[in-house]
Amino acid sequence: MGIHSIANACSHLQNASRARLGLTSIPNTKYNLRLMLALHRAGFISSVTRGGPSPPADLFAEPEPVTAQNVATRRLWVGLKYWDNEPVMRNITPVSRPSRLVTSDLKELSRVARGFEAGYVKGLNLGETLFLSTDRGVLEVREALERKVGGLVLCRVS
Protein backbone atom coordinates (compact mmCIF):
# COMPACT_ATOMS: atom_id res chain seq x y z
CA MET A 1 0.00 0.00 0.00
CA GLY A 2 1.89 3.05 -1.23
CA ILE A 3 1.51 6.38 0.44
CA HIS A 4 1.80 8.61 -2.60
CA SER A 5 -1.92 9.37 -2.47
CA ILE A 6 -1.47 10.55 1.13
CA ALA A 7 1.30 12.94 0.14
CA ASN A 8 -0.80 14.28 -2.74
CA ALA A 9 -3.85 14.66 -0.51
CA CYS A 10 -1.77 16.61 2.05
CA SER A 11 -0.58 19.10 -0.56
CA HIS A 12 -4.04 19.46 -2.02
CA LEU A 13 -5.72 20.04 1.33
CA GLN A 14 -3.16 22.66 2.31
CA ASN A 15 -3.63 24.50 -0.98
CA ALA A 16 -7.42 24.30 -0.74
CA SER A 17 -7.37 25.48 2.83
CA ARG A 18 -5.16 28.48 2.07
CA ALA A 19 -7.41 29.28 -0.91
CA ARG A 20 -10.31 29.42 1.55
CA LEU A 21 -12.34 26.70 -0.18
CA GLY A 22 -15.35 25.30 1.62
CA LEU A 23 -15.50 21.86 0.06
CA THR A 24 -12.81 20.02 -1.85
CA SER A 25 -12.24 16.51 -3.11
CA ILE A 26 -9.43 13.97 -3.05
CA PRO A 27 -9.22 10.55 -4.71
CA ASN A 28 -11.30 7.92 -2.98
CA THR A 29 -8.82 5.45 -1.59
CA LYS A 30 -9.03 3.47 1.64
CA TYR A 31 -5.87 5.11 2.93
CA ASN A 32 -7.16 8.61 2.16
CA LEU A 33 -10.48 7.79 3.78
CA ARG A 34 -8.81 6.62 6.97
CA LEU A 35 -6.62 9.70 7.17
CA MET A 36 -9.62 11.94 6.55
CA LEU A 37 -11.57 10.21 9.30
CA ALA A 38 -8.63 10.70 11.66
CA LEU A 39 -8.47 14.39 10.71
CA HIS A 40 -12.21 14.60 11.30
CA ARG A 41 -11.81 13.05 14.75
CA ALA A 42 -9.11 15.60 15.53
CA GLY A 43 -11.43 18.42 14.47
CA PHE A 44 -9.44 19.64 11.49
CA ILE A 45 -12.17 19.08 8.90
CA SER A 46 -15.91 19.43 9.11
CA SER A 47 -17.11 16.54 6.93
CA VAL A 48 -16.02 13.59 4.83
CA THR A 49 -18.43 12.36 2.13
CA ARG A 50 -18.07 9.75 -0.55
CA GLY A 51 -19.24 11.00 -3.91
CA GLY A 52 -18.68 11.29 -7.61
CA PRO A 53 -16.82 13.82 -9.75
CA SER A 54 -19.23 16.64 -8.87
CA PRO A 55 -19.85 17.88 -5.34
CA PRO A 56 -22.61 15.97 -3.56
CA ALA A 57 -25.84 17.89 -3.17
CA ASP A 58 -26.54 16.34 0.21
CA LEU A 59 -23.55 15.56 2.41
CA PHE A 60 -25.57 13.18 4.56
CA ALA A 61 -27.29 11.20 1.81
CA GLU A 62 -26.51 7.54 1.20
CA PRO A 63 -23.67 7.42 -1.35
CA GLU A 64 -24.13 5.86 -4.75
CA PRO A 65 -23.02 2.21 -4.73
CA VAL A 66 -19.52 1.69 -6.08
CA THR A 67 -19.48 -0.47 -9.19
CA ALA A 68 -16.79 -1.55 -11.59
CA GLN A 69 -17.99 1.14 -13.99
CA ASN A 70 -17.85 4.13 -11.63
CA VAL A 71 -15.06 3.13 -9.27
CA ALA A 72 -12.44 5.20 -11.08
CA THR A 73 -14.47 8.40 -10.74
CA ARG A 74 -15.21 8.13 -7.01
CA ARG A 75 -13.94 11.01 -4.86
CA LEU A 76 -13.87 11.88 -1.20
CA TRP A 77 -15.48 15.25 -0.56
CA VAL A 78 -13.90 17.02 2.38
CA GLY A 79 -15.40 20.02 4.15
CA LEU A 80 -12.78 22.48 5.38
CA LYS A 81 -13.04 24.49 8.58
CA TYR A 82 -12.29 28.14 9.31
CA TRP A 83 -12.30 30.06 12.53
CA ASP A 84 -11.79 33.76 13.06
CA ASN A 85 -11.01 34.29 9.38
CA GLU A 86 -8.19 31.74 9.51
CA PRO A 87 -8.17 28.12 8.32
CA VAL A 88 -8.25 25.63 11.18
CA MET A 89 -5.87 23.40 9.20
CA ARG A 90 -3.22 25.83 7.96
CA ASN A 91 -0.26 23.51 7.54
CA ILE A 92 -0.39 19.88 6.55
CA THR A 93 2.90 18.42 5.42
CA PRO A 94 3.70 14.79 4.67
CA VAL A 95 6.49 13.26 6.75
CA SER A 96 6.86 9.92 5.01
CA ARG A 97 7.50 10.06 1.31
CA PRO A 98 7.19 7.14 -1.11
CA SER A 99 10.99 7.16 -1.31
CA ARG A 100 11.50 7.32 2.46
CA LEU A 101 9.04 5.88 4.88
CA VAL A 102 9.45 7.17 8.42
CA THR A 103 8.36 4.99 11.29
CA SER A 104 8.33 5.80 14.97
CA ASP A 105 8.11 3.40 17.87
CA LEU A 106 6.37 4.16 21.13
CA LYS A 107 9.46 5.56 22.82
CA GLU A 108 10.13 7.98 20.02
CA LEU A 109 6.49 9.01 19.80
CA SER A 110 6.33 9.86 23.47
CA ARG A 111 9.37 12.10 23.02
CA VAL A 112 7.88 13.78 19.95
CA ALA A 113 4.56 14.37 21.69
CA ARG A 114 6.40 16.15 24.49
CA GLY A 115 8.08 18.45 22.00
CA PHE A 116 11.45 16.76 21.59
CA GLU A 117 13.06 15.54 18.43
CA ALA A 118 13.17 11.79 17.76
CA GLY A 119 14.86 10.34 14.71
CA TYR A 120 13.57 11.95 11.58
CA VAL A 121 10.60 13.50 13.34
CA LYS A 122 10.89 16.94 14.89
CA GLY A 123 9.16 17.68 18.18
CA LEU A 124 5.60 18.96 18.14
CA ASN A 125 4.99 22.65 18.70
CA LEU A 126 1.93 24.32 20.17
CA GLY A 127 -1.15 23.27 18.19
CA GLU A 128 0.73 20.74 16.08
CA THR A 129 -0.18 17.11 15.74
CA LEU A 130 1.03 14.02 13.94
CA PHE A 131 -0.93 11.32 12.15
CA LEU A 132 0.33 7.76 12.04
CA SER A 133 -0.64 4.64 10.19
CA THR A 134 -0.65 1.83 12.73
CA ASP A 135 -2.03 -1.67 12.78
CA ARG A 136 -5.04 -0.17 14.57
CA GLY A 137 -5.73 2.14 11.64
CA VAL A 138 -4.73 5.75 11.07
CA LEU A 139 -4.39 7.45 14.45
CA GLU A 140 -3.39 10.78 15.84
CA VAL A 141 -0.17 10.68 17.86
CA ARG A 142 -1.97 10.98 21.20
CA GLU A 143 -4.41 8.22 20.25
CA ALA A 144 -1.44 6.02 19.34
CA LEU A 145 0.20 6.76 22.68
CA GLU A 146 -3.02 5.84 24.45
CA ARG A 147 -3.13 2.53 22.58
CA LYS A 148 0.62 2.09 23.00
CA VAL A 149 1.32 1.53 19.32
CA GLY A 150 3.89 3.02 17.00
CA GLY A 151 3.72 3.09 13.23
CA LEU A 152 4.32 4.87 9.97
CA VAL A 153 4.36 8.66 10.39
CA LEU A 154 2.07 10.06 7.71
CA CYS A 155 1.83 13.79 8.17
CA ARG A 156 2.19 16.68 10.49
CA VAL A 157 -0.79 19.03 10.82
CA SER A 158 -1.18 22.38 12.54
Partner: protein, 479 residues
Protein backbone atom coordinates in the same frame (compact mmCIF):
# COMPACT_ATOMS: atom_id res chain seq x y z
CA UNK B 1 -29.09 32.36 -40.47
CA UNK B 2 -26.81 34.39 -38.35
CA UNK B 3 -23.37 35.21 -39.67
CA UNK B 4 -21.74 37.92 -37.73
CA UNK B 5 -19.06 39.12 -40.10
CA UNK B 6 -20.49 41.22 -42.99
CA UNK B 7 -17.91 40.04 -45.53
CA UNK B 8 -18.58 36.42 -44.73
CA UNK B 9 -22.26 37.01 -44.87
CA UNK B 10 -22.10 38.69 -48.26
CA UNK B 11 -20.06 35.78 -49.56
CA UNK B 12 -22.50 33.23 -48.22
CA UNK B 13 -25.49 35.11 -49.58
CA UNK B 14 -23.92 35.28 -53.00
CA UNK B 15 -23.26 31.55 -52.99
CA UNK B 16 -26.84 30.89 -52.03
CA UNK B 17 -28.14 33.28 -54.71
CA UNK B 18 -26.27 31.55 -57.57
CA UNK B 19 -28.38 28.65 -58.89
CA UNK B 20 -27.06 25.11 -59.01
CA UNK B 21 -25.26 23.99 -62.14
CA UNK B 22 -27.97 23.10 -64.67
CA UNK B 23 -27.73 20.71 -67.54
CA UNK B 24 -29.06 22.88 -70.35
CA UNK B 25 -26.68 25.45 -71.83
CA UNK B 26 -29.43 28.07 -72.11
CA UNK B 27 -30.13 27.84 -68.46
CA UNK B 28 -26.38 28.09 -67.77
CA UNK B 29 -26.17 31.27 -69.89
CA UNK B 30 -29.14 32.74 -68.06
CA UNK B 31 -27.63 31.82 -64.73
CA UNK B 32 -24.30 33.40 -65.72
CA UNK B 33 -26.09 36.60 -66.79
CA UNK B 34 -27.97 36.69 -63.50
CA UNK B 35 -24.73 36.14 -61.59
CA UNK B 36 -23.04 38.94 -63.58
CA UNK B 37 -25.96 41.25 -62.84
CA UNK B 38 -25.72 40.36 -59.17
CA UNK B 39 -21.97 41.00 -59.19
CA UNK B 40 -22.35 44.28 -61.11
CA UNK B 41 -24.99 45.60 -58.71
CA UNK B 42 -23.30 47.92 -56.25
CA UNK B 43 -23.11 46.55 -52.74
CA UNK B 44 -25.63 48.32 -50.56
CA UNK B 45 -23.62 50.05 -47.90
CA UNK B 46 -20.10 49.33 -46.95
CA UNK B 47 -19.49 49.32 -43.27
CA UNK B 48 -16.08 50.09 -41.89
CA UNK B 49 -16.51 48.08 -38.79
CA UNK B 50 -17.31 44.46 -38.20
CA UNK B 51 -20.41 44.72 -36.07
CA UNK B 52 -23.58 43.37 -37.54
CA UNK B 53 -25.57 46.19 -39.18
CA UNK B 54 -29.15 46.44 -38.04
CA UNK B 55 -31.98 46.64 -40.56
CA UNK B 56 -33.90 49.18 -38.50
CA UNK B 57 -33.07 51.50 -35.67
CA UNK B 58 -33.13 49.72 -32.38
CA UNK B 59 -36.05 50.69 -30.26
CA UNK B 60 -36.17 50.26 -26.52
CA UNK B 61 -38.34 47.42 -25.40
CA UNK B 62 -40.12 49.57 -22.90
CA UNK B 63 -41.24 52.83 -24.32
CA UNK B 64 -41.00 55.92 -22.18
CA UNK B 65 -43.90 58.33 -22.02
CA UNK B 66 -43.07 61.98 -22.37
CA UNK B 67 -44.25 64.49 -19.84
CA UNK B 68 -46.07 66.37 -22.60
CA UNK B 69 -48.07 63.30 -23.55
CA UNK B 70 -49.05 62.80 -19.95
CA UNK B 71 -50.36 66.36 -19.88
CA UNK B 72 -47.93 67.41 -17.17
CA UNK B 73 -46.59 70.47 -19.00
CA UNK B 74 -49.83 71.92 -20.32
CA UNK B 75 -50.32 75.67 -19.60
CA UNK B 76 -53.13 74.92 -17.13
CA UNK B 77 -50.93 72.56 -15.17
CA UNK B 78 -48.09 75.08 -15.10
CA UNK B 79 -50.43 77.80 -13.87
CA UNK B 80 -51.82 75.50 -11.25
CA UNK B 81 -48.36 74.59 -10.03
CA UNK B 82 -47.15 78.19 -9.89
CA UNK B 83 -50.29 79.30 -8.04
CA UNK B 84 -49.74 76.56 -5.55
CA UNK B 85 -46.03 77.19 -5.02
CA UNK B 86 -45.74 80.94 -5.57
CA UNK B 87 -49.06 82.32 -4.29
CA UNK B 88 -49.77 86.02 -3.86
CA UNK B 89 -49.90 87.49 -0.39
CA UNK B 90 -53.16 86.80 1.34
CA UNK B 91 -54.83 89.67 3.28
CA UNK B 92 -53.77 88.03 6.57
CA UNK B 93 -50.17 87.87 5.44
CA UNK B 94 -50.35 91.50 4.38
CA UNK B 95 -51.51 92.43 7.84
CA UNK B 96 -48.57 90.65 9.35
CA UNK B 97 -46.26 92.44 6.96
CA UNK B 98 -47.79 95.77 7.90
CA UNK B 99 -46.92 95.14 11.51
CA UNK B 100 -43.33 94.59 10.65
CA UNK B 101 -42.59 96.95 7.76
CA UNK B 102 -43.23 100.57 6.99
CA UNK B 103 -45.66 101.42 4.15
CA UNK B 104 -42.70 102.38 1.98
CA UNK B 105 -41.05 99.04 2.56
CA UNK B 106 -44.27 97.23 1.80
CA UNK B 107 -44.62 99.22 -1.40
CA UNK B 108 -41.08 98.16 -2.32
CA UNK B 109 -41.89 94.55 -1.50
CA UNK B 110 -45.00 94.64 -3.63
CA UNK B 111 -43.14 96.24 -6.49
CA UNK B 112 -40.52 93.52 -6.23
CA UNK B 113 -43.18 90.82 -6.20
CA UNK B 114 -44.93 92.35 -9.16
CA UNK B 115 -41.73 92.49 -11.18
CA UNK B 116 -41.36 88.70 -11.13
CA UNK B 117 -43.81 86.58 -13.03
CA UNK B 118 -44.65 83.35 -11.15
CA UNK B 119 -44.78 81.58 -14.49
CA UNK B 120 -41.10 82.41 -15.05
CA UNK B 121 -40.29 81.18 -11.58
CA UNK B 122 -41.98 77.88 -12.38
CA UNK B 123 -40.28 77.43 -15.74
CA UNK B 124 -36.81 78.83 -15.02
CA UNK B 125 -36.48 79.39 -11.29
CA UNK B 126 -34.68 77.02 -9.04
CA UNK B 127 -35.23 77.04 -5.33
CA UNK B 128 -32.51 74.81 -4.02
CA UNK B 129 -33.63 72.31 -1.44
CA UNK B 130 -30.53 70.10 -1.43
CA UNK B 131 -28.36 69.91 1.64
CA UNK B 132 -25.49 71.81 0.04
CA UNK B 133 -27.50 74.97 -0.59
CA UNK B 134 -26.35 78.23 0.92
CA UNK B 135 -27.82 79.02 4.32
CA UNK B 136 -29.76 81.92 2.84
CA UNK B 137 -31.70 82.53 -0.31
CA UNK B 138 -30.23 85.95 -0.99
CA UNK B 139 -29.19 88.46 1.59
CA UNK B 140 -27.39 91.46 0.21
CA UNK B 141 -27.34 93.36 3.46
CA UNK B 142 -24.03 91.90 4.57
CA UNK B 143 -20.91 91.18 2.58
CA UNK B 144 -19.56 87.66 2.89
CA UNK B 145 -15.94 87.76 1.75
CA UNK B 146 -15.94 84.16 0.47
CA UNK B 147 -19.07 84.45 -1.65
CA UNK B 148 -19.42 88.11 -2.52
CA UNK B 149 -17.19 90.27 -4.65
CA UNK B 150 -15.30 92.95 -2.80
CA UNK B 151 -17.24 96.22 -3.02
CA UNK B 152 -15.52 99.07 -4.84
CA UNK B 153 -15.98 102.03 -2.58
CA UNK B 154 -14.18 104.49 -4.80
CA UNK B 155 -15.36 105.75 -8.19
CA UNK B 156 -13.93 104.16 -11.31
CA UNK B 157 -10.97 105.88 -13.00
CA UNK B 158 -11.67 108.69 -15.48
CA UNK B 159 -11.49 107.19 -18.98
CA UNK B 160 -10.59 110.59 -20.46
CA UNK B 161 -7.59 111.21 -18.23
CA UNK B 162 -4.49 112.40 -20.08
CA UNK B 163 -0.93 113.15 -19.15
CA UNK B 164 -0.30 116.76 -18.31
CA UNK B 165 1.33 119.07 -20.80
CA UNK B 166 4.40 121.02 -19.77
CA UNK B 167 2.41 124.12 -18.89
CA UNK B 168 -0.15 122.15 -16.92
CA UNK B 169 2.63 120.42 -15.11
CA UNK B 170 4.21 123.72 -14.16
CA UNK B 171 0.86 124.97 -12.93
CA UNK B 172 0.37 121.82 -10.91
CA UNK B 173 3.83 122.17 -9.43
CA UNK B 174 3.14 125.78 -8.55
CA UNK B 175 -0.12 124.81 -6.95
CA UNK B 176 1.65 122.18 -4.89
CA UNK B 177 4.40 124.63 -3.92
CA UNK B 178 1.89 127.26 -2.91
CA UNK B 179 0.60 125.01 -0.17
CA UNK B 180 3.79 125.63 1.73
CA UNK B 181 3.63 129.43 1.43
CA UNK B 182 -0.03 130.20 1.97
CA UNK B 183 0.70 133.85 2.78
CA UNK B 184 3.16 134.29 -0.06
CA UNK B 185 1.74 135.23 -3.40
CA UNK B 186 -1.48 136.66 -2.04
CA UNK B 187 -0.13 140.17 -2.25
CA UNK B 188 2.32 139.27 -5.01
CA UNK B 189 2.25 141.70 -7.88
CA UNK B 190 1.65 140.77 -11.50
CA UNK B 191 2.78 142.46 -14.70
CA UNK B 192 -0.48 144.40 -14.73
CA UNK B 193 0.50 146.21 -11.52
CA UNK B 194 3.53 147.82 -13.18
CA UNK B 195 1.87 149.16 -16.30
CA UNK B 196 0.65 152.72 -16.49
CA UNK B 197 -2.66 153.35 -14.81
CA UNK B 198 -4.61 154.13 -17.98
CA UNK B 199 -3.84 150.63 -19.40
CA UNK B 200 -4.58 148.65 -16.23
CA UNK B 201 -8.15 147.85 -17.32
CA UNK B 202 -7.21 146.96 -20.88
CA UNK B 203 -6.05 143.54 -22.09
CA UNK B 204 -2.31 142.93 -22.56
CA UNK B 205 -2.41 142.95 -26.38
CA UNK B 206 -3.61 146.54 -26.52
CA UNK B 207 -0.68 147.94 -24.49
CA UNK B 208 1.70 150.18 -26.46
CA UNK B 209 5.25 148.95 -26.94
CA UNK B 210 6.79 151.51 -24.61
CA UNK B 211 4.40 150.83 -21.79
CA UNK B 212 4.97 147.06 -22.09
CA UNK B 213 8.76 147.44 -21.99
CA UNK B 214 8.66 149.63 -18.90
CA UNK B 215 6.24 147.34 -17.16
CA UNK B 216 8.43 144.33 -18.01
CA UNK B 217 11.52 146.00 -16.65
CA UNK B 218 9.82 147.01 -13.42
CA UNK B 219 8.28 143.56 -13.01
CA UNK B 220 11.67 141.78 -13.48
CA UNK B 221 13.26 144.12 -10.93
CA UNK B 222 10.40 143.26 -8.54
CA UNK B 223 10.83 139.53 -9.16
CA UNK B 224 14.56 139.70 -8.50
CA UNK B 225 13.97 141.45 -5.22
CA UNK B 226 11.15 139.19 -4.15
CA UNK B 227 13.25 136.16 -5.17
CA UNK B 228 15.61 136.98 -2.33
CA UNK B 229 12.66 137.01 0.05
CA UNK B 230 11.56 133.59 -1.17
CA UNK B 231 15.07 132.22 -0.64
CA UNK B 232 14.90 133.32 2.94
CA UNK B 233 11.51 131.73 3.29
CA UNK B 234 12.61 128.44 1.74
CA UNK B 235 14.96 127.75 4.61
CA UNK B 236 12.23 128.03 7.19
CA UNK B 237 8.92 127.24 5.51
CA UNK B 238 9.82 125.24 2.40
CA UNK B 239 8.70 121.61 1.80
CA UNK B 240 10.56 118.97 3.77
CA UNK B 241 12.23 115.98 2.17
CA UNK B 242 9.19 113.91 3.06
CA UNK B 243 6.93 116.27 1.17
CA UNK B 244 9.21 116.13 -1.86
CA UNK B 245 9.24 112.35 -1.79
CA UNK B 246 5.47 112.31 -1.47
CA UNK B 247 5.25 114.60 -4.47
CA UNK B 248 7.50 112.36 -6.56
CA UNK B 249 5.80 109.09 -5.68
CA UNK B 250 2.16 109.97 -5.13
CA UNK B 251 1.36 113.06 -7.15
CA UNK B 252 -0.58 112.02 -10.22
CA UNK B 253 0.93 112.95 -13.55
CA UNK B 254 -2.51 112.68 -15.14
CA UNK B 255 -4.77 115.63 -15.65
CA UNK B 256 -7.85 115.64 -13.43
CA UNK B 257 -8.18 114.48 -9.87
CA UNK B 258 -10.12 111.31 -10.71
CA UNK B 259 -7.40 109.83 -12.84
CA UNK B 260 -6.64 107.07 -10.35
CA UNK B 261 -9.55 105.45 -8.59
CA UNK B 262 -7.73 103.96 -5.62
CA UNK B 263 -9.59 100.64 -5.95
CA UNK B 264 -7.00 97.90 -5.60
CA UNK B 265 -7.08 94.49 -7.21
CA UNK B 266 -4.89 93.12 -4.46
CA UNK B 267 -6.36 90.92 -1.76
CA UNK B 268 -6.81 92.64 1.57
CA UNK B 269 -4.13 92.07 4.14
CA UNK B 270 -4.48 89.26 6.64
CA UNK B 271 -5.92 89.98 10.01
CA UNK B 272 -3.80 89.92 13.12
CA UNK B 273 -5.43 86.75 14.41
CA UNK B 274 -6.22 84.53 11.44
CA UNK B 275 -9.07 82.18 12.32
CA UNK B 276 -8.02 78.52 12.33
CA UNK B 277 -4.36 79.35 12.87
CA UNK B 278 -4.55 81.62 15.90
CA UNK B 279 -2.91 80.04 18.91
CA UNK B 280 -1.66 76.95 17.06
CA UNK B 281 1.98 77.84 17.19
CA UNK B 282 1.99 78.87 20.77
CA UNK B 283 2.28 76.07 23.27
CA UNK B 284 -0.31 76.41 25.96
CA UNK B 285 0.81 74.76 29.15
CA UNK B 286 -1.80 72.26 30.29
CA UNK B 287 -2.27 72.42 34.06
CA UNK B 288 -3.01 68.66 34.06
CA UNK B 289 0.65 68.04 33.14
CA UNK B 290 1.78 69.09 36.62
CA UNK B 291 4.56 71.14 35.08
CA UNK B 292 6.21 68.08 33.52
CA UNK B 293 5.74 69.14 29.92
CA UNK B 294 6.26 72.87 29.56
CA UNK B 295 7.71 72.54 26.07
CA UNK B 296 4.70 70.65 24.71
CA UNK B 297 6.73 67.62 23.61
CA UNK B 298 4.13 65.17 24.88
CA UNK B 299 1.17 67.03 23.36
CA UNK B 300 0.61 64.68 20.42
CA UNK B 301 1.31 61.44 22.24
CA UNK B 302 -1.06 62.54 24.98
CA UNK B 303 -3.82 62.98 22.43
CA UNK B 304 -3.07 59.64 20.72
CA UNK B 305 -2.71 57.45 23.79
CA UNK B 306 -5.18 59.31 26.02
CA UNK B 307 -2.73 59.00 28.92
CA UNK B 308 -1.45 61.70 31.22
CA UNK B 309 2.14 62.93 30.97
CA UNK B 310 3.00 61.27 34.27
CA UNK B 311 1.69 57.92 33.00
CA UNK B 312 3.58 58.30 29.72
CA UNK B 313 6.77 59.06 31.61
CA UNK B 314 6.49 55.85 33.60
CA UNK B 315 6.74 53.85 30.35
CA UNK B 316 10.32 52.70 29.95
CA UNK B 317 12.05 53.34 26.66
CA UNK B 318 15.40 52.14 25.48
CA UNK B 319 17.54 52.85 22.48
CA UNK B 320 18.40 49.57 20.75
CA UNK B 321 19.78 50.55 17.34
CA UNK B 322 21.58 53.68 16.30
CA UNK B 323 22.87 54.14 12.79
CA UNK B 324 23.96 56.86 10.44
CA UNK B 325 22.32 57.18 7.06
CA UNK B 326 23.17 59.69 4.39
CA UNK B 327 21.53 60.96 1.26
CA UNK B 328 23.99 61.78 -1.51
CA UNK B 329 22.89 64.95 -3.26
CA UNK B 330 24.72 67.13 -5.77
CA UNK B 331 25.46 69.47 -2.89
CA UNK B 332 27.12 66.71 -0.88
CA UNK B 333 26.03 64.13 1.64
CA UNK B 334 23.12 64.90 3.92
CA UNK B 335 23.58 62.71 6.94
CA UNK B 336 20.80 61.70 9.25
CA UNK B 337 20.65 59.69 12.43
CA UNK B 338 18.29 56.77 12.50
CA UNK B 339 17.28 55.43 15.87
CA UNK B 340 15.23 52.46 16.99
CA UNK B 341 13.60 52.72 20.37
CA UNK B 342 11.62 50.11 22.23
CA UNK B 343 9.01 50.98 24.82
CA UNK B 344 7.29 48.74 27.32
CA UNK B 345 5.59 48.73 30.66
CA UNK B 346 7.35 45.56 31.85
CA UNK B 347 3.99 43.82 32.02
CA UNK B 348 3.02 42.51 28.62
CA UNK B 349 3.10 45.64 26.46
CA UNK B 350 5.79 46.35 23.92
CA UNK B 351 6.31 48.77 21.04
CA UNK B 352 9.11 49.68 18.66
CA UNK B 353 9.61 53.00 16.95
CA UNK B 354 12.15 54.20 14.44
CA UNK B 355 12.85 57.77 13.41
CA UNK B 356 15.37 59.60 11.27
CA UNK B 357 16.48 63.17 11.57
CA UNK B 358 19.43 65.38 10.76
CA UNK B 359 19.15 66.53 14.34
CA UNK B 360 19.81 63.57 16.67
CA UNK B 361 17.80 65.02 19.54
CA UNK B 362 14.75 65.26 17.29
CA UNK B 363 15.24 61.66 16.18
CA UNK B 364 15.47 60.55 19.82
CA UNK B 365 12.22 62.26 20.70
CA UNK B 366 10.36 61.08 17.61
CA UNK B 367 11.51 57.48 17.95
CA UNK B 368 10.58 57.39 21.64
CA UNK B 369 7.13 58.76 20.98
CA UNK B 370 6.58 56.35 18.10
CA UNK B 371 7.63 53.43 20.27
CA UNK B 372 5.14 54.47 22.93
CA UNK B 373 2.46 54.96 20.30
CA UNK B 374 3.11 51.53 18.76
CA UNK B 375 2.82 49.61 22.01
CA UNK B 376 0.81 46.39 21.61
CA UNK B 377 -0.06 43.61 24.04
CA UNK B 378 2.27 40.61 23.97
CA UNK B 379 0.64 37.26 24.86
CA UNK B 380 2.64 35.54 27.59
CA UNK B 381 2.32 32.02 28.94
CA UNK B 382 2.16 32.21 32.74
CA UNK B 383 3.34 35.83 32.40
CA UNK B 384 6.87 34.64 31.82
CA UNK B 385 7.39 33.06 28.37
CA UNK B 386 5.89 32.68 24.92
CA UNK B 387 3.20 30.27 23.77
CA UNK B 388 5.27 27.55 22.12
CA UNK B 389 7.96 28.27 19.59
CA UNK B 390 7.39 31.22 17.32
CA UNK B 391 9.24 32.29 14.25
CA UNK B 392 9.22 35.42 12.09
CA UNK B 393 11.13 36.52 9.06
CA UNK B 394 12.03 40.04 8.01
CA UNK B 395 14.17 40.27 4.91
CA UNK B 396 17.04 37.80 5.39
CA UNK B 397 16.63 37.62 9.13
CA UNK B 398 14.78 34.76 10.75
CA UNK B 399 14.20 34.93 14.48
CA UNK B 400 13.15 31.75 16.23
CA UNK B 401 11.91 32.20 19.76
CA UNK B 402 11.35 29.16 21.97
CA UNK B 403 9.34 28.92 25.16
CA UNK B 404 11.35 27.70 28.11
CA UNK B 405 10.58 26.35 31.61
CA UNK B 406 10.54 28.60 34.68
CA UNK B 407 13.96 29.67 35.87
CA UNK B 408 15.54 29.23 32.46
CA UNK B 409 16.20 32.94 32.12
CA UNK B 410 16.62 35.03 29.04
CA UNK B 411 19.25 33.29 26.93
CA UNK B 412 18.80 35.60 23.96
CA UNK B 413 20.87 38.23 22.08
CA UNK B 414 21.22 41.65 23.65
CA UNK B 415 18.52 43.51 21.74
CA UNK B 416 15.95 40.77 22.16
CA UNK B 417 16.96 40.60 25.82
CA UNK B 418 16.01 44.28 26.20
CA UNK B 419 12.75 43.70 24.36
CA UNK B 420 11.88 40.76 26.62
CA UNK B 421 12.69 42.81 29.69
CA UNK B 422 10.44 45.63 28.49
CA UNK B 423 7.63 43.19 27.69
CA UNK B 424 7.99 41.25 30.95
CA UNK B 425 9.13 37.95 29.45
CA UNK B 426 11.45 36.05 31.78
CA UNK B 427 12.19 32.68 30.18
CA UNK B 428 13.09 32.51 26.53
CA UNK B 429 15.60 31.01 24.13
CA UNK B 430 16.36 32.40 20.71
CA UNK B 431 18.06 31.34 17.53
CA UNK B 432 18.87 33.61 14.65
CA UNK B 433 20.07 31.14 12.04
CA UNK B 434 20.56 33.56 9.18
CA UNK B 435 21.27 37.28 8.93
CA UNK B 436 21.79 39.06 12.23
CA UNK B 437 21.07 42.59 11.02
CA UNK B 438 20.19 44.61 14.15
CA UNK B 439 17.16 46.39 12.72
CA UNK B 440 15.67 43.32 11.09
CA UNK B 441 16.37 41.31 14.21
CA UNK B 442 14.29 43.54 16.44
CA UNK B 443 11.55 43.87 13.85
CA UNK B 444 11.34 40.09 13.36
CA UNK B 445 11.43 39.49 17.11
CA UNK B 446 8.60 41.99 17.55
CA UNK B 447 6.54 40.30 14.85
CA UNK B 448 7.16 36.90 16.41
CA UNK B 449 6.14 38.14 19.86
CA UNK B 450 2.97 39.82 18.60
CA UNK B 451 1.85 36.94 16.36
CA UNK B 452 1.93 34.05 18.81
CA UNK B 453 -0.58 31.23 18.44
CA UNK B 454 -3.45 31.37 20.89
CA UNK B 455 -4.27 27.94 22.39
CA UNK B 456 -7.83 29.00 23.18
CA UNK B 457 -8.46 29.95 19.56
CA UNK B 458 -6.97 26.67 18.33
CA UNK B 459 -9.19 24.71 20.72
CA UNK B 460 -12.29 26.58 19.58
CA UNK B 461 -11.36 26.01 15.92
CA UNK B 462 -11.01 22.26 16.39
CA UNK B 463 -13.92 21.94 18.76
CA UNK B 464 -11.77 20.39 21.46
CA UNK B 465 -11.64 20.90 25.16
CA UNK B 466 -8.32 22.35 26.27
CA UNK B 467 -6.74 21.90 29.66
CA UNK B 468 -3.33 23.12 30.73
CA UNK B 469 -1.98 20.16 32.64
CA UNK B 470 0.56 22.30 34.46
CA UNK B 471 -2.35 23.86 36.27
CA UNK B 472 -3.96 20.49 37.00
CA UNK B 473 -1.27 18.39 38.67
CA UNK B 474 -0.14 19.18 42.18
CA UNK B 475 -2.94 21.72 42.51
CA UNK B 476 -1.18 23.98 40.05
CA UNK B 477 1.75 24.45 42.44
CA UNK B 478 4.39 23.66 39.87
CA UNK B 479 6.76 26.58 40.09
Amino acid sequence: MSIPHPVTRRLVLRCLASPPVSASPRAAVAAAAAAAAAAAAPSTCRSFHNTVPLSVRRRPRFKSVRAEEMGLTSPEKIDEWSKKNFPEYSPEEKEILQERYTPEQIAALEAGEASINPHDLTIQGRLRIDQYRMPYIEDFSTIQPIIDKRPKTKPPPDPNAKFMTEEEFTEDLMEWARKFFPEHGKDAKTLRDFVWDEYKDKPEEEWPEQARKKADKAYHAYLENSGNEIKLDLETLGPSDVDVLDYITNRSVLKGKTASSGNSALAPALMNAVPGVAGLYKTVVDPADEGLDDEGQYKDIKRITNMSVREIMTIKTKLVVRRWVSNQTRLGKIGRTQLFYIAGNGDGWLGIGSAKSTEPSVAHLKAKMLAIKNMRPIPRYENRTTFGNVEAKVSGTIVKLSARPPGFGLRVPERIFEMCRMAGIKDLACKIPRSRNPMNTIMAAYQALVNQPDPEEIAIGRGKKLVDVRKVYYGGAVH
